[in-house]
Subunit: 320 residues, 4 copies
Amino acid sequence: MTDVALFGAGRIGKIHAGNIVRQPGVRLKYVVDVNATAAAELAQKYGAQVGSAEQVFGDAVVKAVVIGSSTRAAAAKKAIFCEKPVDLSLARARDCAQAVAKAGVTCLIGFQRRYDPTFAALKDRLAAGEIGEPQMLLVTSRDPGPPPVDYIKVSGGIFKDMLIHDFDIFRWILGDEAATVHATGSCLTDPAIATAGDIDAAAVTIRTRRGRLAQINTSRRAAYGYDQRFEVLGSKGMLQAGNHKPTEVTAATAQSVSLDKPEHFFLERYRVAYANEMAHFFDALAKGAPVKTTIEDGVKALELAEAATTSWREKRIVEL
Amino acid sequence: MTDVALFGAGRIGKIHAGNIVRQPGVRLKYVVDVNATAAAELAQKYGAQVGSAEQVFGDAVVKAVVIGSSTRAAAAKKAIFCEKPVDLSLARARDCAQAVAKAGVTCLIGFQRRYDPTFAALKDRLAAGEIGEPQMLLVTSRDPGPPPVDYIKVSGGIFKDMLIHDFDIFRWILGDEAATVHATGSCLTDPAIATAGDIDAAAVTIRTRRGRLAQINTSRRAAYGYDQRFEVLGSKGMLQAGNHKPTEVTAATAQSVSLDKPEHFFLERYRVAYANEMAHFFDALAKGAPVKTTIEDGVKALELAEAATTSWREKRIVEL
Amino acid sequence: MTDVALFGAGRIGKIHAGNIVRQPGVRLKYVVDVNATAAAELAQKYGAQVGSAEQVFGDAVVKAVVIGSSTRAAAAKKAIFCEKPVDLSLARARDCAQAVAKAGVTCLIGFQRRYDPTFAALKDRLAAGEIGEPQMLLVTSRDPGPPPVDYIKVSGGIFKDMLIHDFDIFRWILGDEAATVHATGSCLTDPAIATAGDIDAAAVTIRTRRGRLAQINTSRRAAYGYDQRFEVLGSKGMLQAGNHKPTEVTAATAQSVSLDKPEHFFLERYRVAYANEMAHFFDALAKGAPVKTTIEDGVKALELAEAATTSWREKRIVEL
Amino acid sequence: MTDVALFGAGRIGKIHAGNIVRQPGVRLKYVVDVNATAAAELAQKYGAQVGSAEQVFGDAVVKAVVIGSSTRAAAAKKAIFCEKPVDLSLARARDCAQAVAKAGVTCLIGFQRRYDPTFAALKDRLAAGEIGEPQMLLVTSRDPGPPPVDYIKVSGGIFKDMLIHDFDIFRWILGDEAATVHATGSCLTDPAIATAGDIDAAAVTIRTRRGRLAQINTSRRAAYGYDQRFEVLGSKGMLQAGNHKPTEVTAATAQSVSLDKPEHFFLERYRVAYANEMAHFFDALAKGAPVKTTIEDGVKALELAEAATTSWREKRIVEL
């Protein structure tokens, strides 16, 4: 039986808790959260106990931590399931990666999109050569609405907060590293976001070392919901990953023919991805196998987020 | 130069006139219509003259008639482009077929759907074996709204007026003849249609001699417009012919994701089909080649329409 | 805590077991199956014990049975989750319904399609008046391949085995009862099915008391997989329920633009439906509320299946 | 009767000739081409004569020229239907615009995409406020294959040759002018294109004066054909313009569910657009009304093409 501690009893913590307890041979021992009520409720729901970081890192039976403070967890020799970004500071993220490497512990970074059935199938088919060599990638990544401005202020900005996932998709799909990054953006939906020093719309272009091209477009607000698509042009064709819809109902009326809007937001859209990701984590742990999304991936995505932030702020092309 | 006479200067007559004058080596000589104004306008538009049936059938330079009274035209040795149904009376239709055969003239029946790019492509792919042997056919055929009740009264009823096309599709696609026909229907949109002795919704089932199955559903009123689809299940797959849309615009809003409704009605939906059909007629004429939709096809479709009418009226399965 | 006994440890039994143990406050106590190994494996997986019918019906703590022999379970005052069809014999099914009524126990018939997100959403939107009054229903219901002929021999035939679900959809969606049923069919894929006295392709037409029309088409073998669609034409528009796909990947190559085939078969297609159905059962039980799919629904669907069988065998329209 | 001279009897010249002769009250008088055979064939087909530039500009009855040398035509007071780009030299294009302004003649630039039914419908709906204020534009513009390298050498490069249309779409849809342009690209399909000093894949980002963002991606070779899509994100939703398909056939087989590839290339995809464009030209001429695509639009698009070329060559963001 593998005992696990969960840090965070919020929205995503609840998802992770549900997925943890569904793993065979895995037990949720602790729930840790500064919000004591939230921690208690979640702990009770799954027969776990409320704990503190001290307890968790001092408890030898705890083998893994989820959404953990990675450096400390590494030092305590726990396997780590770490939400992105590793850290808003690239220096600290690199330190953390070093600590993980030194401790030799498993560390999975929560780039859950790689575990999404649609995205993973596309990647598999690309890897199988269905469209030849990848040449161009277009990523559309839009939220249904912005988070509170107070969150935006401490979020690290749109590139670290939202596009970190898209930078990971870029590396995963094109299989190449960035040579240059260009980013531009605007604040078009809410002036308070600009006041907070951030933007709500961005356009990023990456050229890889092998000359492949990627364009990412993002908005903090799409009136029609959560929009998560990408397409790859290859030498022999194109693969597109489309949005998921709640149902397959089509309505034809005197006004129009209409379909469902995309799944509302990330909790719905990536529900299966979160479950797959957690299963992969414990499966890799059980087998001593490497994880698919490593802390190095987390650091690399953060480097791109920093480069994009610099490009946007300084209005110049950044070379990597 | 092939001189042609056009009978009928109404909605469909105008379409045919436009298609006639676009054929190389073809000249529209006469327009004949009891509505003298309509005839004059159409004749003037295309440099033709208003004529009478007597003139047309007595004029040796006229080689072909469009939407002609077929029996008389056959007797006058004119090639005939004949709108469906050949005649509301099956006996007269058979007489006409005999007259055509005896005269040895070309006679094309205006089953324009066979000349539609989507339907024709499906047929070609079916014939090429893409889905193996056809087993089942589903036809959806709905009008945006019913014609005036005065027209319905003289139309021969829903099976001869509307479904005649679908019966032809059935024969063309399944490549087999009907063994039994079952039809049922209702008047669901306008009681005046029932008063006129007709229905506005029908469901027809045909079993062929080789055991293949066809279902046709029809309505005189679909709130979302003209709906013309069919699908064939074969031993190796399925081919579906979908509706055509005016544009490929998709709109995603807070309410829904919406597409265009289908092309409004038959003049729009079958615009290309009508043009292809006319080109085929004159091409066959020029080459002395057989036409794709013969008067025998017209008679066979009418037989099915009669059988369906009988099945509906007498509430019994009709054997053929 | 509600203790439950599960009868059947086969394919669908496993699905139900997994859904039972996920219900809050519900415990799987017994697994019963003539296949002792299957029963033992499933029981062990979920911490239940292997039991016999005698044990189950004699154990007062067992409050509910899943896929149970309904009459006996009713006599033992257990709540019943009963797979369709209630019984292949209409007489016995009616006896069972009477026994359930007399015992006053909850009895849910496993018409899982009503719990499918797409189908349920369509029904809700129909009920909300989005397309006005329903007029016509088209149901396509095709399996990826036939079951073993030995199964077909004891299955009750295509109408009781496969179309029972579609007959339920018909009643649920059109909200009206059948006045006449016409069915025809053929054996087109495997002569052994004909030898077993059954068919593999069927076309059914139902006219309701209010004149609404339904067409059902079915095949035991669709080369492209499991095909489960239906559409309703209403006075103000149309609602269509389409197939679900495993992923939203589109591939464009020199050959074609292609999408995923539908979910492979019922275990995949109705995975969510089975879970929703079980949750509904225990929720209704906890609240003492009526279930959505009653034993009367089971009997009514069976009546339609019998009528269709008669229509097909005797080549006549059956009045109800 | 308006007499017209057509310059160019090649691929696009033939399309224009067909559209010219279909305009009511318009006569094709001259066909001019250095390829005497091509000129003669086309002239004969439509009852025109082969002419020279001298004849055309000296013939007072000629009221309009199509694909004409614009400056000279302006001097000769002819109305001009001018293919894009106005000129590969921005200076000469501006001179030409001045000549046109001075002569006061009608001059339509052949940005045919604005006359495409899908694109025009999207623009109309955008203008009607359906998705609020436009914020972001994504344009995908890919050819099925590159032109001969000899053509590429004299084409002005990918930005003037291919993207000139997309720059016009940008201005038309976002209704704003560019503030900054960033372009990057690669040669990924054929090294001969690089040797010719050009690229075959490009990614362009434009930020407008009002902060709106546009991304254009292009490739000279998409294995699946001609790909012409764009989408606009607005404050209240999104409008997408998709590809047109030759037919609406869907095939479901054991391998996949597949649709038609997009219309093969521009002659097919923009067939209706070319016809609409020509009709608009003569309609504007007849009414003395302004044309929708002016020589100023041609100059503006060329400015963007130059800026993009500079950005790509000098690896810097270009301000306008």
